[in-house]
Amino acid sequence: MIKEVTDAHEVEARIGKLRLLEALLFASTEPLDEETLAGRIGPEVGLLLEELRAHYAPRGVTLVRTGGGWAFRTAVDLAPELRREEEVSRKLSRAAIETLAIIAYHQPVTRGEIESIRGVATSKGTLDLLMEHGWIRPGKRRETPGRPLTWITTDHFLDHFGLETLRDLPSVDDLRAAGLLDSRPVLLGLGATADDSALGTGDET
């Protein structure tokens, strides 16, 4: 008898937590990290998240994991019906798109390395723009002469492109296996501005 009552209590408590978790995630636009959620829900939050994810999987709104956080997003397969045109002003140049890809796959990467990979100076405003989108940010300085600044991607980058972690970047394993994620400059005279120690003079085009 007593056992049963306890179970009923447990079930109720569990449902209460699930509802709270659902509400917390639903109310926020930004992903919430598991630690924050655990602080509100308790240590069993991992299991509850999985339960919620399973419940929402077939629905029009799904629970996704991205960069250590969890967020509700509209279902991927509804994209054609929900598609919003990208604002023309937000469209990125080819240079910006390539630069973002290079930062994503080679991070942490210095500006000089980006330039040596592309074989062309990074035009002013490219990194600025990517940072304004919230996709990249400065990382640690490289402990080499000149101590150049490195660039890395943000959690928002993962969120924007629907990635759970950087390991989910398209083809990343293949590229690594093929040795193509080596960011060292290989040719002298190519991307001649690739001297990080002289960044101050590295103004271009």
């Binding site: 926020s28 798109i97 973002l100 924007h160 492109f161 629907g162 991307g191």
Partner: protein, 280 residues
Amino acid sequence: MADLLAEHEADTAAPVAAVAEESASEQLLLVLDGFEGPLDMLLALGRDQKVDLTRISILELADQYLTFVAEARKVRLELAADYLVMAAWLAYLKSRLLLPEPEGEEPSGEDMAAALAFQLQRLEAMKGVAEKLFARPRLGIDLHPRGAPEDLDLRRKSVYEVTLFDLLRAYGQQRARKESGVLHIAPVRLYSMEEAVQRLSSLLGRMPDWATLASFLPGGEGGGLLTRSALAAHFAATLELAKAGRVELRQEGAFAPLYVRGREAGSRDGDISEEAQSHD
């Protein structure tokens, strides 16, 4: 060459394809515009070999690039320095590949060719994944977050919303403002009309006969802008003085030299036109 252009019409699409019978130089210009630097262009040339980039002929690629650059220069197209640097490097690479290897510390021609091939593959790979990345369903475009979030005090992370970008931008703008403050101190020497009126008044007394306006201008120091501003100021000054009845002006036709004469020494109204005609 023509093949090359045709290939790029397909590759870089609209702007190039639209041009049918333009001059060679304009076509070249358009082709160059489609590239993000010499490496990007080499990659496009490499793709034209229609083989796997790992089996690409670097020698052939170098030849194609050098031909392209030579053509471009022939039509007196100004090529960016990095295109020329690349051309010089490729010419050197070619010589290293064709001639027997000299003794020394230099990397061998084959090593250099392999390094170039690697760079092309790496750039190709990055272009490929950039495309894949942007083909993914994107937040705010293909999938959407909660449209009407409810503010919850969740993380207690911060009452104020300020990002590293905000901080850096604020500092950058502050620095830029400061640097601009220095700029304004820089003196700009221009000739004012007041100066010109004074100068003309004092000179006219000593030049009773017709003289060109140019002969009143101050001497050569200062150069371009100062001289132009002096001319403008003196011209305006003569109009001002003519309005005040202190000088007479004469000009034979549009853009002809402008003649000036002082009018204080008892000249009568009537003979202005006669004077003018007598000079014809």
